[in-house]
């Protein structure tokens, strides 16, 4: 998103410069000297990007406990519960946000988390035309939605709501899925694809490994996941935080980047509450 804006800005700057150069060469030079952010040259923009990356890296290396808003988790939870007092139970979700510092062009961080204390039941959808597989998914794993072409049609027409957190498919239906539901499931990250490892002939092995886990992915420069409710005890919350830490670390180790990404400042926050920096690394 940012990069797109930048290219647009660049294009604008270039066009302006060339036009000015033809008419008032001197004036354009003056303008460039006291330039605002939108009038930086390509070179300057690149430099700025490198500088900002270095700044973010340096910030990530600083210990979390140096931050003025740092608190141990138990104290942070006490403040968050106080800030959240009297709100409806369903709105008291605690979430964790971690800054991710990665090289340009590195693939986005994504992976799976499994919490010892679940926030809610994970809803799984299975797309297959194979009766045996469908039966298995329905009976053994008790999946939320199971079906073939008819389920695809229902979702497309809006009869069946898209309320699942995960989906799997068999190869014979995958192409139909991509063409019919790509527009609906794609943006939510729910479309099964061979690249993501969610399309397989043998659904049993897939389901076995990931029934209880929730997917997460990097958005912008951060990863954000819901880790608990205010009603959880301190011990439950700590267990969930450790599980989240483990999941994110695994995702970092598996990321296919030239240089490994870093984790930056981590904040714990609630729906209506403030963000509190905690120690995560």
């Amino acid at each position: 998103m940012l990069s797109r804006v930048r290219t647009k800005v660049n294009a604008l700057v270039n066009r302006n410069q060339t036009r000015c150069l033809q008419v008032f060469p001197r004036l354009s030079a003056e303008e460039a000297s006291n330039s605002t952010t939108s009038k930086l040259s390509k070179d300057q923009l690149k430099k700025r990007e490198i500088r900002r990356l270095a700044q973010r890296k340096a910030a990530a290396r600083r210990a979390a406990s140096d931050h003025p808003l740092y608190m141990p988790v138990d104290k942070a939870l006490r403040f968050l519960r106080a800030a959240e007092v009297g709100q409806p139970q369903s709105q008291q979700t605690l979430s964790l946000t971690t800054a991710v510092i990665s090289e340009r062009g590195a693939p986005l961080l994504s992976g799976n988390l499994s919490f010892p204390n679940a926030l809610k039941e994970v809803k799984v959808a299975v797309f297959t035309n194979d009766e045996d597989q469908a039966k298995l998914a329905r009976e053994k794993y008790n999946c939320h939605l199971v079906g073939g072409t008819e389920l695809v049609e229902q979702i497309k027409s809006g009869q069946t709501a898209v309320d699942f957190d995960k989906s799997f498919a068999t190869p014979e239906i995958a192409s139909t899925l991509a063409s019919q539901l790509g527009r609906i499931l794609g943006p939510r990250g729910l479309l099964p694809a061979a690249k993501k490892g969610t399309v397989s002939d043998n659904l049993e092995s897939l389901l076995e490994g990931s029934m209880a886990s929730l997917p997460f992915r990097q958005r912008g420069n951060s990863v954000s996941v819901a880790v608990g409710k205010c009603s959880f005890s301190d011990k439950q919350m700590l267990e969930n935080l450790v599980a989240a830490q483990k999941g994110v670390k695994t995702a970092l180790a598996n990321q296919k980047a030239k240089r490994p990404s870093l984790l930056g400042q981590t904040t714990l926050t609630s729906t209506h509450g403030p963000g509190i920096v905690i120690d995560f690394a």
């Binding site: 003025p68 104290k75 006490r78 403040f79 106080a82 800030a83 007092v85 009297g86 403030p274 963000g275």
Partner: protein
């Protein structure tokens, strides 16, 4: 004021600058409070909302084992004054042992009448969290 300073002020408001509600309720007697009032301010419900917003975070902070519940009722009709505006004090079994009428009172007044109603002790000076 920087982002960090504003945040610290917010934390301090919960833990140290709201003096009236820095109390510990007798945990052997009470299990929590139940508040019921309108979402809208008319017919004297504004004080209840202010009490919730200003004093209850501190109460919860120093009484982490108690449960505070707020039920807000939507009522757009200004002529309809039937919505209750009450604070109920719950004992260990969840039974109501006392109630306060919050209608047409300011937040601070409600806090004072709550202090007069319940068995409590002030938070000791060394237990107050300052950031």
């Amino acid at each position: 004021m920087s982002r960090v300073a504003r945040q610290l002020k917010f934390f301090n408001k919960i833990s140290s600058t709201t003096l009236e509600s820095q109390i510990i309720l007798n945990a052997e007697k009470y299990s929590g409070l139940n508040l019921t009032f309108q979402c809208q301010n008319h017919n004297g419900h504004m004080g209840a909302r202010k009490f919730w917003r200003e004093f209850m975070p501190t109460l919860q902070f120093y009484n982490p084992q108690l449960h505070f519940q707020v039920t807000r009722v939507k009522n757009d009709d200004k002529k309809n004054a039937s919505v209750p505006c009450v604070l109920e004090i719950l004992d260990r079994e969840g039974q109501s042992v006392g109630s306060l009428d919050m209608r047409n009172k300011q937040g601070a007044e409600i806090m004072q009448s709550l202090l007069a109603e319940v068995d409590h002790v002030k938070v000791a000076e060394e237990d107050i969290v300052k950031l």
